[in-house]
């Protein structure tokens, strides 16, 4: 059981790290602000989500696990709305 949970942690955290890599590559290579913003928020949120999933078996009890999941949900909410706002500023800059 312990081995299975450790394996789960390794797989999930590695997948999360891979998505962070993908997001950073997108951030570096995409041509304009809006596409870079997309790479940043979508890939990094997925990366954080997988990292949180991987850390759940090691969480300190039910409260610890709840806190981890709520971090992810908070970050999702904030990223989604803030990227909308940043995108409006970016679009205004482009058309100015």
């Amino acid at each position: 059981m312990r081995v299975a949970l450790d394996l789960w942690t390794i797989v999930a955290v590695s997948a999360g790290a891979f998505f962070f890599l993908a997001g950073t590559v997108g951030l570096l290579r995409f041509p304009d602000a809006l596409t870079r913003l997309h790479a940043l928020t979508k890939a990094d949120n997925l990366g954080l989500g997988l990292a949180v999933l991987g850390l759940l078996p090691r969480a300190a009890g039910l409260l610890g696990a709840l806190k981890l999941v709520s971090i992810w949900l908070l970050v999702l909410l904030a990223s989604a709305t803030v990227s909308q706002l940043i995108a409006r500023v970016a679009r205004r800059e482009d058309s100015a």
Binding site: S70, L74, L77, A78, T81, V82, Q84, L85
Partner: protein
């Protein structure tokens, strides 16, 4: 393994710091500074100082960045003149020598500390059971050095009065800051409705756990202040006029209760700010709850700035 992480973190922090100094535009420099603050929180975690990391994440990142943005907005008119000015090589050299001297002095002070370094940690650990608190940082802040904490809150109050004094005479007692507008059906207002309830729960939770785990009243107050600022920035709440009685009561509630408990210690116990062991935890919590209200309102008002609108509007 840990060494690689630490080296990477140091390089990143120094790089962001250098970039912040070299940045040409004020807006960019402020963002660099906020980034630097958020990264320092990671450094504190690495140094096994979670309470400091909490404070750095709360204040060094969002709050100070917002304060500097407000200052930058007021200085915008002077930016063209500032950018055109070029200081001489002599001034650069003097500044460089001064900075190097201060850095050398700090490095010498840290590297040549006697081994083992002088510390009060064993004394705190030995006396911690008297406060019945599990978190030694909270014991120090709220029991052993409670006087300093009380005086800090008074200093915050003085700072607020100082900021208010920047208002023109006819606006004294008015509402701080401009009236913020945001589309009430828009994305910003949506976030400002969803986030503050969560933030308030998290803030009170951080205070509640500070008895036995890392946390604290100041960090909690900062989170509450940020949530209030969020609601104000989205136009969902307006800054109250600073002459309002309830606002002024909130500002003094923290230090006042603290002072009353301290005087109670003088009357019922041994000395000013002494807590009877049986009630220590209850008294400390009784002090901390009004204190987070005061800290939240104070930080919010400091960020909002001096009154800019007449009280009636």
């Amino acid at each position: 393994m840990g060494l690689g992480f630490e080296v990477g973190l140091i390089v990143l922090v120094l790089g962001v710091g250098a970039w912040t100094i070299a940045a040409r535009e004020t807006f960019a420099a402020v963002i660099g500074f906020a980034t630097y603050g958020l990264l320092l929180a990671l450094v504190w975690v690495r140094l096994s100082a979670p309470d400091v990391a909490l404070t750095e994440a709360a204040i060094g990142g969002g709050l100070t960045g917002t304060l500097l943005l407000g200052a930058a907005a007021r200085l915008r008119a002077t930016e063209p003149a500032d950018a055109a000015e070029r200081s001489g090589a002599a001034l650069h050299m003097v500044a460089g020598v001064l900075a190097a001297t201060v850095t050398g002095g700090l490095a010498a002070a840290v590297l040549f500390l006697p081994d083992p370094a002088p510390t009060l940690a064993p004394a705190v650990a030995a006396n911690a059971p008297a406060t019945t608190l599990g978190n030694p940082v909270t014991s120090v802040l709220m029991a052993f050095r409670a006087m300093d904490t009380l005086l800090e809150k008074v200093v915050l109050l003085l700072a607020t009065v100082g900021v208010w004094s920047l208002a023109p005479d006819r606006l004294w007692g008015g509402r701080p800051g401009p009236r913020h507008q945001a589309n009430p059906d828009g994305v910003f207002a949506f976030l400002a409705r969803l986030l503050p309830p969560v933030g308030i729960v998290v803030g009170i939770y951080i205070l509640w756990v500070s008895a036995d785990d890392p946390g604290g009243a100041f960090q909690s107050g900062t989170i509450l202040a940020a949530m209030w600022m969020l609601a104000m920035m989205a136009g969902l709440a307006d800054a109250p006029p600073v002459s309002r009685r309830s606002l002024r009561f909130a500002l003094i509630a923290g230090p006042l209760i603290f002072l009353l408990v301290g005087l109670g210690g003088l009357w019922l116990g041994d000395a000013f700010l002494s807590y009877p062991v049986a009630y220590a935890k209850a008294l400390i919590l009784a002090i901390e709850f009004p204190m987070i209200l005061t800290i939240a309102v104070t930080l919010g008002l400091l960020l909002a700035g001096p009154p800019e609108r007449e009280p009636g509007r």
